[in-house]
């Protein structure tokens, strides 16, 4: 009886304020789409990091002939210095460094020649123009600073370079995009809360007579307020559902079917990621409705 009665009440309430209900659905839809887009961008960034950081290395370039660096005052890095560095990688940085690969200047020249068989921009380089280097694979790419501190300044080391830097600007751009998305989402979420508040207030006012009688005959607070709470929640969750659907379609057609087909060397977010953020979006929608309801109902349907 109770359950059915409440359902009837909800149905009536939603139909009575149909235009308001639709606007709540749409505003939550748009705001949660922004929230979802921000979350997906973050997921994309994580994926890229996972994917690329596995491949990137720290390069320790050794002194070539005629370097101006202070540590290279003794000329080209000597075999003793190279041995000393290897010991450092093994002992001091044993925990951080997973793998060490030494590239002599001959190796470097070989791979250079392979890349530019006709010389680089018309110059004729020799083996001595190349420099030897260590390629370090770190156990955790985030520990670059530790390695840098230990290695930089040692005799025979010209410069230490983190390949991750190359990606920094890309990640910066992606991070800014997701921040912007979060900002827009915040504004839209505020609008959604205000709109739900207004909707519930209207609904409560239009049912003042009913709620007045309910109070008098001793209906419990929960019973009186539940239809209003659920009305707001249903509209908000509908909006969240639309947002999830919209994001899923976007990811499917824009990313999976198009971007992933044309640029294949990058890992992309997919439908599974959308489904992973779906509960978050639904939760936010529910929370929105709850906040709005608590604010409104205590003022309009109090015992």
């Amino acid at each position: 009886m109770r359950f059915q009665f409440i359902l009837t009440e909800i149905g009536q309430g939603l139909r009575r304020n149909l235009s308001m209900t639709i606007s709540v659905v749409l505003v939550t839809f748009v705001s949660l789409t922004f929230v979802g887009a921000g979350l997906l961008l973050q997921a994309q960034i994580d994926k890229l990091k996972d994917d690329w950081y596995d491949k990137v290395e720290v390069s320790v370039f050794l002194c070539p002939v005629g370097s101006a660096e202070a540590t290279c005052a003794g000329g080209e890095a000597s075999p003793e210095q190279i041995d000393a560095l290897e010991t450092v990688f093994d002992d001091e940085l044993g925990d951080q460094v997973e793998r060490v690969y030494f590239e002599s200047k001959e190796d470097a020249f070989a791979s250079f020649s392979e890349q530019y068989p006709d010389g680089y921009l018309g110059t004729q380089l020799t083996v001595d123009d190349m420099q030897a280097s260590f390629r370090l694979k770190l156990t955790d790419p985030q520990n670059y600073e530790v390695v840098n501190d230990v290695v930089t300044g040692r005799p025979g080391v010209e410069v230490v370079e983190d390949q991750r830097r190359i990606f920094d600007s890309l990640f910066l751009a992606l991070n800014r995009a997701s921040l912007m998305s979060a900002g827009l989402a915040a504004v839209m979420l505020l609008a959604a809360v205000l709109l739900i508040t207004t909707t519930i207030r209207l609904s409560a006012l239009s049912r003042r007579r009913e709620t007045g009688i309910m109070r008098l005959v001793g209906a419990s607070n929960l019973f009186i307020q539940l239809p209003f709470l659920l009305e707001g929640a249903i509209a908000a969750v509908l909006g969240a559902g639309l947002a999830v659907g919209g994001l899923w379609l976007t990811v499917k057609y824009l990313v999976t079917d198009w971007l992933a087909e044309s640029v294949t060397w990058v890992a992309y977010v997919d439908g599974a990621d959308v489904l992973r953020i779906a509960p978050v979006l639904l939760g936010i929608a529910f929370l929105l409705a709850a906040i709005a309801s608590v604010v409104t109902l205590n003022r309009h349907t109090r015992v």
Binding site: M1, R2, F5, R209, E210, G212, I213, M214, R215, L216, V217, G218, A219, S220, N221, F223, I224, V303
Partner: protein, 262 residues
């Protein structure tokens, strides 16, 4: 059943108290008129009994419960034991007579079969059998008030409050309503009725508590009432017979011998 102990209610700080140091007791099964001019504090007393307002000072007891210390989540339970009737009926215009009465049971979670039994029984008792499918606007004022009474009484509350229930009705219709309230009273229900209709008070010969600017000025067992705005105009009927002999005992779930017509 209802006890006021030195109850004072001040609505706005510094304003004159709406109820000023009122002490009274209404016993189980009594029929009490609460009389007085507008603004004398009758309605405030009813609000206090319903715990729609809390006293500024003093104590209100209803059915053994101290309303001052009653936590707000228990208020609905208190109100399930009190039926209320108003001057303006307060029916739901888009519901039928049956639905209006059933509404009171639905919202407190009564099972459907209980509603299916109790509602027709109550409608028959108030004399509205056969009008279940009408909507309020299709009924006369007296009939609408009967629906309101049915709604207030359908849960068989031990207490029935009536705030000017005859205020919108003509004298003949009012009489019918009073007969009905009297019948309800004789099922053992305590009835408190706020009114300033002196004709009715004088015909009923029940206990009268008169309020004036928030104070009890009279509490009389079989009282009469003279409206102050009518000066000392003599009563139309100086010695009215009580409407019904208070000896017949009516069972609580009253079977019906057709309520008085309108």
């Amino acid at each position: 059943m209802i006890r006021f102990e030195n109850v004072t209610k001040v609505y706005a700080r510094g304003a004159r108290p709406a109820v000023d140091d009122v002490s009274m007791e209404v016993r189980r099964g009594e029929f009490v008129f609460l009389v007085g001019a507008s603004g004398s504090g009758k309605s405030t007393c009813l609000h206090l009994i319903l715990r729609e307002e809390r006293p500024t000072s003093g104590k209100v007891f209803v059915a053994g419960r101290d309303l001052r210390s009653l936590s707000s989540w228990k208020v609905p339970n208190l109100r399930r034991g009190i039926g209320v009737v108003f001057q303006d009926f307060r029916l739901l215009p888009n519901k039928t007579v049956f639905e209006n009465v059933a509404f009171a049971l639905q919202v407190i979670g009564k099972p459907r079969h209980t509603i299916a039994i109790t509602v027709p029984e109550t409608l028959e008792m108030v004399g509205l059998a056969g009008k279940e499918k009408r909507r309020p606007h299709e009924l006369s004022g007296g009939e609408q008030q009967r629906v309101a009474i049915a709604r207030a009484f359908v849960n068989r509350p031990p207490i029935l409050l009536a705030d000017e229930p005859t205020g919108n009705l003509d004298p003949t219709t009012s009489l019918g309503i009073m007969r009905l309230l009297d019948r309800i009273n004789r099922t053992g229900t305590t009835v408190v009725m706020a009114t300033h209709d002196d004709d009715i008070v004088n015909q009923m010969r029940k206990r009268v508590i008169e309020l004036d600017t928030g104070r009890v000025v009279r509490d009389q067992a079989h009282g009469s009432y003279v409206r102050s705005d009518e000066e000392t105009e003599p009563l139309t009927n100086p010695d009215p017979a009580p409407m019904s002999a208070p000896t017949t005992v009516v069972r609580r779930s009253a079977h019906v011998d057709a309520a008085a017509g309108e």
